[in-house]
């Protein structure tokens, strides 16, 4: 278990090293949000109607950005081989990597999301549900994304390939998260979509480490 904690701390430290941690994803998020009024026109009513859904979609996209570093760096410098040889099962390592990714990237994005939603003109009272959806859905994005990252090891087209593999898998969390935010906004039952989102995220946390480990083992074999 201490080995797991070590890997977790290592992953957190690495996410800050040479790349500025979450700032890349946060910068992407802000840049995309600032382009929305330029594309749609700055009519407040029009922006307010699309702001929650747009902010949720771009959050999903922003969480794709740093996936490539999840396994690629360890794969290239041989650390992944050493970790695989070590006593901790690779599934545990994958779990630690996913959780570290969640804390380093998804949580900051979730905390920024209400600011974006509000700046685009949606009502302030959406803020809590946006943060909760960002945190819960972020688990799905990190773990499914980790599967894509591990699968594309050894290819020469990492980033785009990961996005192509992972985005179809994002369909359910994107639907449930946007559904929860929208239902909350119009005063409908938002618990059901949030629970569905939570269920999907928990299933992703439970199952994806096995797929990540299988893919990583395949890459280093």
């Amino acid at each position: 278990m201490s080995g797991l904690a070590l890997i977790f701390r290592r992953e957190l430290a690495l996410s800050w090293a040479g790349g500025g941690g979450p700032f890349l994803a946060l910068g992407f998020y802000i840049a995309m949000a600032s382009l929305l009024p330029l594309a749609l026109g700055a009519d407040p009513a029009r922006m307010a109607s699309v702001a929650p859904g747009f902010a949720w979609l771009v959050l999903a996209l922003a969480s794709l950005l740093s996936l490539e570093r999840m396994f690629e760096r360890d794969f290239e410098d041989g650390a992944l081989d050493l970790i695989a040889l070590g006593p901790a099962p690779l599934e545990m390592t994958a779990l630690a990597k996913g959780l570290a990714q969640w804390i380093a990237i998804a949580a900051p994005l979730a905390l920024l999301a209400p600011l974006i939603v509000t700046a685009l003109g949606a009502p302030m009272r959406l803020a809590p549900i946006v943060v909760i959806c960002g945190l819960v859905g972020g688990l799905s994005f990190c773990f499914l994304g980790g599967v894509g990252a591990a699968l594309s090891l050894g290819s020469r087209r990492g980033g785009v390939l990961i996005a192509l593999i992972v985005l179809p898998l994002f369909t359910p969390p994107v639907i449930f998260g946007a559904g929860a935010i929208e239902a909350f906004g119009v005063g409908l039952d938002w618990r059901t979509p949030l629970l569905l989102l939570s269920a999907y995220s928990l299933a992703a946390v439970a199952l994806c480490p096995f797929a990540m480990a299988a893919a990583a083992r395949n890459a280093i074999s």
Binding site: S152, L153, S155, L164, P168, L169, G179, N218, A219, S221
Partner: protein, 238 residues
């Protein structure tokens, strides 16, 4: 029968006559289906556009059926590491993508005259589109990883992840649709299909299945030949 086919030599001997036989069966069934189709009267609501159904519905069915074949082949390839299963998975993906694309295109052509629009974000259409993206992702991954054996295993893992996810995607899209729009252009549960339409439709479904079987066998054979050629080339160099 399956046990016997695990041996590549026996598979090659079997598929040598099975592939053309299935192809002939597919052509005969499709010809019979089309003849019956054009003898059927035009639909009282859709008119002649109902003929698109006999191309579209079997393609939509095959898009899911082929993904199931891909999933089973990937599972066998991962668990038993059998070369033929790997070849079968690899061979199935472009065929499945082709059926899915055919379903999307014919559906769009059918939607224009009947619903008045090329595309609706209806749960079925949306989940078929996502299925198409799954095929694209599978083929892209397989093509991008340089080591062929590793590419096949990575793609097999992705196929299984997709197999688990496809039902969830489908139900999430159904749920999304019920949230977003109450009325749909497409009303299911119209009059049950009369036999004049059902008979050619079933014939076409079987024709598509036989056609897929023939093409799949041909592609697996090609895969086996390609590998044998690669081995010969390596021996010649060594």
């Amino acid at each position: 029968m399956f046990q016997a086919l695990v041996n590549p030599d026996r598979f090659m001997a079997f598929s040598r006559w099975a592939a053309p036989l299935l192809g002939v069966i597919a052509l005969v069934l499709a010809a019979a289906g089309l003849v019956l189709d054009f003898q059927a009267p035009p639909d009282y609501q859709q008119g002649y556009t109902v003929h698109i159904m006999f191309i579209h519905v079997p393609a939509a069915f095959m898009s899911e059926f082929v993904y199931a074949c891909l999933g089973v082949a990937s599972f066998l390839s991962l668990v038993f590491r059998h070369a033929l299963a790997t070849a079968a998975a690899r061979a199935a993906a472009p065929l499945g993508a082709g059926f899915t694309l055919l379903a999307l295109i014919t559906g769009s052509l059918w939607g224009r005259p009947t619903w008045g629009t090329w595309w609706v974000w209806d749960p079925r259409l949306t989940s078929v589109l996502v299925l198409f993206l799954f095929y694209i992702g599978y083929m892209a991954l397989e093509a991008a990883v340089e080591d062929e054996a590793k590419a096949a295993r990575a793609a097999a893992i992705l196929a299984l992840v997709g197999l688990i996810n496809l039902p969830i995607v489908h139900y999430s899209v159904v749920w999304w649709n019920s949230l977003h729009q109450g009325s749909s252009l497409l009303r299911a549960g119209g009059p049950a299909m009369p036999a004049v339409y059902l008979a050619p439709l079933l014939l076409m479904v079987f024709a598509y299945m036989a056609g897929f079987g023939a093409l799949w066998l041909v592609r697996i054979r090609g895969e086996v030949w390609r590998r044998r050629a690669a081995v010969l080339a390596m021996r010649a160099v060594a």
